[in-house]
């Protein structure tokens, strides 16, 4: 440890924190969807990827396609439009395909979302290939910012702030508002809620859309940081699954805290033993299963 400068240490910790923000947003979305639909949304990674691609298409492709080279959908617009489009697409899938499977074993819902993910990833691969696309962050967020102990890229500071804000807003919405109370009632006893005059099927569709939109926002935020490739979501989702197993799907705050914590641990591992940083989350999951089989904040599926 002694030969590692504080600078490098803090840099890795920051990278870990940013990774943790993405884990937090994605696992929150998974927890929200699981709460009401009782399925694990295996399409989550593909939806994250799709939003990143839509942002990139908006910035670099739409203009040339329409023959207007200077027409661009800028980052701020993409941050709203891309998640909305992905959510609409997700809700269409929920209405047409997922809905037919609610009365069956949850396995079928899982396999269906998995099939949709395969179609999406294969389709993007066919059209855009596997090489990564770059995305320039908006002008205002380019360049470094001095945070006291080191210089950081402005955009990364923005990502951390934005994702924490989104996570806290989501938590507030679900735990502290009337709408959130309805949603939690829906997870407890949907038939009783229906009897009180709430249109539960519509609520389920909107909840799915909301969870997917979270993945979409994460995707657009990730566009300037990660290489945009058709496989970017799948590899991230594998880690997020481990996060979800450790934290459990029972609590939104639990999903967020576990995501952030594991991102930081991953960053620390990069300092000590870089090769292992890709599997450290899985190893922690194995340890957690040995020590606390019921999960940290879990409720059983």
């Amino acid at each position: 440890m002694s030969d590692i400068t504080l600078q490098a240490f803090m840099a890795q910790l920051t990278i870990g924190l940013i990774g943790g923000c993405f884990y937090a947003m994605l696992s929150m979305g998974l927890a929200i969807i699981f709460g009401l639909l009782n399925i694990i949304n295996f399409t989550h990674g593909a939806q994250f990827m799709m939003a990143a691609f839509l942002a990139w298409i908006g910035l670099t492709q739409v203009g040339p396609w329409l023959g207007q080279p200077d027409l661009q959908v800028n980052f701020w617009l993409a941050l709203v439009l891309a998640p909305a489009l992905v959510a609409v697409f997700g809700m269409a899938i929920e209405r047409t395909l997922l809905r037919r499977l609610y009365h069956l074993d949850h396995l079928y819902g899982l396999l269906l979302t998995f099939g949709v993910a395969l179609v999406m990833e294969g389709g993007f691969r066919y059209v855009f290939g596997v090489s990564g696309q770059g995305y320039e962050p908006p002008e205002i967020l380019q360049g470094p910012v001095d945070v006291g102990f080191m210089l950081l890229p402005k955009y990364r500071v923005f990502v951390v702030a934005a994702s924490l804000l989104i996570c806290l807003a989501t938590w507030y919405l679900f735990e502290r508002t009337k709408l959130g109370a309805y949603l939690r009632a829906g997870t407890e006893n949907p038939r009783l809620l229906q009897a009180f005059g709430i249109n539960v099927p519509v609520m389920i569709t909107l909840t799915y859309g909301f969870g997917v939109a979270l993945a979409g926002i994460a995707g657009v935020l990730a566009a300037p940081i990660m290489q945009i490739t058709p496989l970017m979501g799948g590899s991230l989702l594998n880690i997020v699954f481990a996060v979800v197993v450790i934290g459990g799907l029972g609590s939104i705050l639990g999903a967020m805290l576990t995501g952030l914590g594991l991102g930081l641990i991953e960053g620390l591992t990069k300092v000590v033993y870089p090769e292992a940083s890709t599997v450290v989350v899985f190893v922690i999951m194995a340890l957690a299963l040995l020590l606390r089989p019921a999960g940290l904040f879990g409720r059983e599926a």
């Binding site: 694990i40 395909l97 074993d105 099939g115 090769e275 989350v281 194995a286 599926a301």
Partner: protein
């Protein structure tokens, strides 16, 4: 329907393959046999135990790597082939015990996610280790000579040895399903609480089934490594884990012949679609969606269901057995 008679007919058909040249490639049939066994092993878990695993590529690949690495070093020894084969199966059973032992602590959807995450560790190790060939995998694995008598480098000799191994594996699974152990597994699947109240330790039976299924998947992986002489990272990847789910689903979950039919369909489809590259994933995804939405019993399952209904109509007033989605074993 007598399973053994049907299977004997299938084996007889397979015996004819090399004797009638130009009918069908023996290499293709060997691939179907290996993947068919792989899917049967997976189905022992999903169909008869009700557990979803996304780790089966880890078992297929582990045995492939171990068998391959041993053949490269000791392939010339007269006992090389059986020793390497058994070592591969044992290694898979061990990995299965490790993954299953952890995953069995949670239920349902968590179980599936844990197997997926843990299989990523196996993938990581396959990339890191030197003896697995890292990114390149193992190539040029010799087939050796069986007990110093049969030279397996000839495709025909390899074919008949593969057929014998395939038949033995399939009959073993049939035996397990119809044994008291298999009956208990199905009881746990259908009503876990009730099986527990009858005094069966559900977790222990499930773990045993998991290890057995892993060992059998390894058996298929060892066969595949021997036949094709190569093992790659694709064999331990999530992609392969999901392919086996699709094969089983397409053929019929919980039927004995379903996984074989599903494996033949998927392997055939891949050969047929080899030219369209990335679109294969799209096609496979679409089949997934169609299967899950409209065709949950699979090819063999639907056929059994139809026969069952016809028999029920003929023998009224017997009520029809309600048993979707898992059909009774053929």
């Amino acid at each position: 329907m007598n399973t053994k008679a049907l299977f004997a007919a299938l084996v007889a058909l397979f015996v004819l393959v090399p004797l009638v040249p130009g009918l069908i490639y023996p290499i293709f049939v060997m691939k179907v046999m290996a993947y068919g066994l792989f899917a049967c092993a997976f189905n022992l878990l999903l169909g008869f135990t009700g557990l979803v695993s996304f780790a089966h590529a880890a078992f297929l690949g582990t045995a492939g790597y171990v068998t391959g690495a041993l053949m490269i070093r000791f392939g010339a020894h007269p006992l090389g082939v059986p020793a390497a084969f058994l070592a591969g199966v044992a290694a898979s059973a061990l990995v299965g015990f490790a993954i299953g032992g952890l995953a069995i602590r949670r239920r349902g959807i968590y179980f599936a996610m844990i197997t997926l995450a843990l299989s990523q560790i196996v993938y990581f190790l396959a990339v890191q280790f030197r003896w697995t060939g890292g990114e390149d995998g193992l190539q040029g694995i010799p087939r050796g000579t069986l007990l110093g008598l049969v030279d397996l480098s000839s495709d025909t000799a390899m074919y008949y040895v593969a057929l014998a191994l395939f038949a033995a594996g399939f009959l073993f699974i049939d035996r397990v399903v119809h044994s008291p152990f298999g009956q208990i597994l199905q009881a746990v699947r259908d009503n876990e609480a009730r099986a527990v109240s009858l005094g069966y330790d559900a977790s222990r039976f499930q773990l045993l089934a998991f290890v057995l299924s892993a060992a059998l998947a390894g058996y298929a992986g060892a066969l595949k490594a021997l036949v094709f002489g190569l093992v790659s990272l694709n064999d331990v990847s999530l992609h392969t884990s999901t392919e086996v789910v699709l094969m089983t689903l397409l053929g019929g979950v919980g039927t004995l012949f379903g996984p074989l039919v599903g494996a033949a369909l998927v392997v055939g489809l891949q050969n047929y679609l080899a030219t369209i590259g990335d679109l294969v994933t799209v096609v496979i995804g679409l089949i997934f969606i169609l299967c899950v939405s409209f065709f949950r019993r699979g090819v063999v399952g639907e056929w059994l269901h139809w026969r069952h209904r016809r028999a029920a109509r003929a023998a009224r007033p017997l009520p029809e057995a309600e048993h979707p989605p898992v059909a009774k074993a053929a």
